[in-house]
Amino acid sequence: MDNQQLKRKSIQYRKTILRIIKQANAGHTGGSLSCIDILNVLYNYVMDITPENFASTNRDHYIQSKGHSVEALYTVLADKGFYPESDLDTLDQYQSHFVGHPTRKIKGIEHNTGALGHGLSVSVGIALGMKHDGHNSRVFTLLGDGELAEGSSWEALMSASHYKLDNLVIIVDRNSLQITGGTEEVMGLEPLADRFASFGCAVRVCNGNDVEDLISTFDSLPLELGRPNLIIAQTTKGKGISFMENTVKWHHRVPTEDEFKLAMQELEELEVSL
């Protein structure tokens, strides 16, 4: 898939995310919009994960530690053919398997997340298993920046570098906002790149909303042999919708009818301008 096609996908995904959040009347809007370009590039350019190979363990793996951005994941998995997109109409509905955080009841999802600070440990375990069996497959995990306040994330990082897991790719969705406010006000993370480097990671900073920059970053994996890969993907929370961007309240706000129309209009205009 070329860059232009990927950019179109990002717009299409944003529309779906907003549509299903509006329909469910619930969802994590800002975070799903900040990480969707990352998921787009991962699933459509980088990772070897398809409905056909999903039952095998010798393939790439993806763990979404920031489980609350599940609408982004559900959207991409539908597009990848794991289930029909119409299934997403049941999101959060009574007896639906499409819960407000990822679960293995949904094909394409291999681990249940939602409580923060869990995904990296699980990813370390898969990466250890892949190395143990001599597989070349890689493990990708997406972390929120707010969740880095969870100490378990740092336990996991210690073990990732101790075991030299260069088949592990940790991506931080660095949108710099969490539910209460800015990450640096709530619990400061900086100097984040230095902290990761001091834990033994090979660190790269990129624009996590820029398809080209993401592609060139992922193309350079592994960043360094013998070290876990740590990509700080600088993103904008609510990316793509002017009035949602960088706004704390859009963490889990649902658009009204008017806001939804306005958002769709912005996305249409973006599509035309491509």
């Binding site: 363990t57 793996h61 679960t103 293995r104 291999e110 681990h111 249940n112 997340t113 939602g114 409580a115 600070g117 869990h118 990296l120 440990s121 699980v122 990813s123 370390v124 375990g125 898969i126 990466a127 250890l128 298993g129 892949m130 143990h132 069996d133 100490g151 378990s152 336990e155 996991a156 210690m158 073990s159 101790h162 075991y163």
Partner: protein, 316 residues
């Protein structure tokens, strides 16, 4: 019931059994949290260094990594002191193991009050209660070497997440050589109709000794090893409760939320009423002492169980 001879610590039996299994099954992986020595896993590490992974003193990561290794197709045994494993990493157990349905084997070593005078930080008297309330994890508490060996063997291909906990004291052998073991199926160790003691884990040994003592006093006493606390063997519980005069449960756990309350709930719901007593550790700052001193203090002793039986019989 056989002549009770002294066996080894269940800890040792666990480590020996696992090593033998792992020699023939390269998919078995053991995770430790600086607990290789206390888990008696040094020989395992020497013999099968590629099947043991040290996680350091980081129990949350231990359990999360165990889930990941399970997803990679491994049969994972995560070994850590029961007190830390089921408290520090409870959220990982709930979400990464039970909810995510990865059939990891969580091994709680030096469980209950095995660490004795090291105090409450090192005791696990809450683990049955918290894990019973979590969907999709079985709880197995072997009483002696036989049950430990069989529980570990059965756990390898167990389809669900499982928690197995035991102590570090040498135990008496309680089973005949032709005994059989199945997770979820209680074992009748001694038969009798006046008193029934339903025991789990290391207090089972004392229940058997108490039954012998009662027998010498002309009181017949049945002893049930309820090695699986969840799912409880309801069939056996209902059967024995309707064929005894009094019923005692005994466990190395808080009296809240453990085996006793599990039995009581079922009996109450079925309308079965009989003199009944839950023996365990009461809701107080646990007395200082060795495991056996703590047992004695709270009536998890031959004399204590005999007296409990006599008191209950007096109500009949």
């Amino acid at each position: 019931m056989i002549e009770m001879t002294k066996g080894q610590a269940n800890l040792v039996v666990f480590a020996d059994t696992l090593l033998e299994l792992a020699k023939h099954d390269p998919s078995i992986m053991v995770l430790t949290s600086d607990s290789r020595g206390s888990g008696k896993l040094v020989p395992f590490g020497e013999e099968l260094p590629n099947q043991i992974v040290e996680m350091g003193i980081a129990e949350q990561n231990l359990v999360g990594v165990a889930a990941g290794l399970s997803m990679a197709g491994k049969h994972v045994f995560a070994v850590s002191p029961a007190c830390f494993l089921t408290a520090r990493s409870l959220e990982q157990i709930k979400n990464d193991i039970a909810y995510s349905d990865h059939p990891v084997k969580l091994i709680g070593i030096s469980a209950g009050v095995s660490y004795g005078a090291l105090g409450t930080t090192h005791h696990s008297l809450h683990d049955f209660a918290v894990l019973r309330a979590i969907n999709n994890i079985d709880i197995v508490v072997p009483a002696d070497n036989f049950e430990t060996r069989e529980a570990i063997k059965s756990s390898v291909d167990h389809p669900r997440p499982i928690y197995i906990r035991y102590g570090k004291k040498a135990m008496l052998d309680l089973h005949p050589s032709d005994a059989t073991f199945e997770i979820g199926k209680a074992i009748t160790l001694m038969d009798g109709e006046d008193v029934t003691i339903i025991a789990t884990g290391e207090p089972t040994e004392r229940a058997c000794l108490a039954a012998k003592q009662l027998k010498s006093e002309g009181i017949s006493c049945r002893v049930i090893s309820m090695h699986t606390v969840k799912p409880l063997d309801v069939y056996t519980l209902l059967d024995v409760a309707q064929n005894t005069k009094v019923l005692i449960t005994v466990e190395e756990h808080s009296v809240y939320g453990g085996l006793g309350e599990a039995c009581a709930a079922i009996l109450m719901e079925r309308g079965i009423r009989l003199p009944f007593k839950i023996i365990g550790i009461p809701d107080e700052y646990t007395v200082t002492g060795s495991q056996l001193e703590i047992f004695d203090h709270y009536g998890i002793s031959v004399d204590g169980l005999v007296k409990t039986a006599q008191d209950l019989l007096a109500k009949v």
